[in-house]
């Protein structure tokens, strides 16, 4: 099982920016029901795309600088990184088939 891995600012560069595959980062926070809603969907996608896309999640309350750097101001925000740069993003809950389409565009 490859559920999204929780990371912190210090590990962000290694995990996300220099990854060889595209990486999806789930920016979440406490008291965020849509973040809870989207979590099982992201977990399923992490299984489906195991090996093809890296999956991470980051708590913006504990890591505010990363949130600010990437202009995250609404939760949940999913950012897909490609070659170390943001490629696309999704704000708010979206069902699995829509997220799948977004991922496919990055591959």
């Amino acid at each position: 099982m490859s559920a999204p891995v929780e990371i912190e600012e210090a590990k962000f560069e290694d995990a996300v920016l220099i990854a060889e595959t595209p990486v999806l980062v789930d920016f979440w926070g406490p008291d965020c029901p849509p973040c809870l809603m989207i979590a099982p969907v992201v977990e399923e996608l992490a299984d489906d795309y195991d090996g093809k896309v890296g999956f991470f999640k980051i708590n913006v309350t504990d890591n505010p600088r990363i949130a600010s750097r990437y202009g995250v101001m609404g939760l949940p925000t999913l950012i897909i990184f490609k070659d170390g740069k943001p490629f696309s993003n999704v704000v708010g809950f979206k069902p699995k088939n829509e997220l799948k389409d977004t991922l496919e565009e990055a591959l």
């Binding site: 926070g29 965020c32 029901p33 989207i38 099982p40 101001m73 609404g74 069902p95 699995k96």
Partner: protein
């Protein structure tokens, strides 16, 4: 997975309190029941920090704890749950089909509990600035607006609850409402009017949201005088109403002018064997307690329907 494992007595679409209660009752009636939910279990009540008006909980309870308990309870009696998006339905025949982006499932009766989601206002700047200052969830995003001015658009329970939540963070909160009276429950209105950070702009609508990379201001119009003004704000919280999630039904069931499902007092729709419960119903009062009540009524009547087939 063989074909038999996709056949059920009841398929329930949606895992909020209405669907969960329907599932609890149909499971206890020993009907083979499947509940399909596209995200996490719980529905719209997850967006409320604390539920004070669900009977039986003297100190209140969180939406998460309440719906998690409902889910575990229904599973205890045999309700099956599936994470999937329902993409279409075939309801006209005796054997109903519910299609998802994965497999399709058949059932003798279907209970529609897919609820509603926050209405979008549809004004310039709203889509562009979603996640960049425009928000539909104060508990999620309030912290991004610490010590900054924000507006809340709307005048009902959601709007006032959001405004009160935002007092923890924002420097000032302007509630923009198009009438001269709030629709929210009186006790919420009392709390809002006592709050020095909250002020209400009556008879007003937001015409446009604008800014740079992030929201910087809103243009407000008075519906009585037509006077326009601008407010410098960092955040716009939308709470203008709810839209029933009926798009995927694609005309299979009779809807009212707001696209909510018309039902009788048995929760029956115009299609035999198809029931609707919770926020998705026409004239729903949109409370957890009425959703759970609907769920039980539908389950009992779905059982009667199946037995009579």
């Amino acid at each position: 997975m063989n074909e038999l494992s996709k056949q059920y007595d009841i398929v329930i679409i949606g895992g909020g309190p209405a669907g969960l209660t329907a599932g609890l009752y149909t499971a206890r009636a020993r009907l083979k029941s499947l509940l399909i939910e596209r995200g996490a279990i719980g529905g719209q009540i997850l967006n409320t920090d604390w539920v004070e008006n669900y009977p039986g909980f003297l100190e209140g309870i969180s939406g998460i704890d309440l719906t998690e308990a409902m889910h575990k309870q229904a599973e205890k009696f045999g309700l099956e749950t599936l994470l999937a998006d329902v993409t279409g339905v075939k309801l006209a025949d005796a054997q109903k089909t519910v299609e998802t982006s994965g497999d399709s499932y058949t059932a003798q009766a279907v209970i529609i509990a897919s609820g509603s989601e926050r209405q979008k206002l549809g004004i310039p700047g709203e889509a562009e600035y979603t996640g960049k200052g425009v928000s539909y969830c104060a508990t999620c995003d309030g912290a991004f607006f610490r010590d900054k001015p924000v507006v809340v658009v709307g005048g009902g329970n959601a709007a006032i609850t959001e405004a009160l939540e935002l007092t923890k963070f924002a420097s000032e909160i302007s509630v923009i409402h198009r009438r001269d009276e709030l629709r929210a429950t009186k006790i919420l209105q009392e709390k809002a009017f006592e709050e020095p950070k909250i002020k209400v702009l009556w008879d007003s609508v937001v015409d446009e949201i604008s800014g740079d990379t992030f929201v910087q201001k809103v243009t407000v119009g008075n519906v009585k005088t037509d006077k326009k003004s601008t407010l410098d704000v960092a955040g716009v919280f939308m709470a203008v109403g709810f839209k029933p999630n009926t798009d995927y039904l694609k005309g299979a069931i009779t809807l009212d002018k707001n696209n909510a499902i018309i039902t009788d007092d048995k929760m029956a729709t115009n299609v035999p064997g198809v029931f609707a419960v919770g926020d998705i119903r026409s004239n729903s009062i949109r409370q957890v307690i009425s959703a759970t009540g609907d769920g039980a009524v539908a389950a009992v009547n779905a059982e009667k329907y199946i037995t009579g087939l």
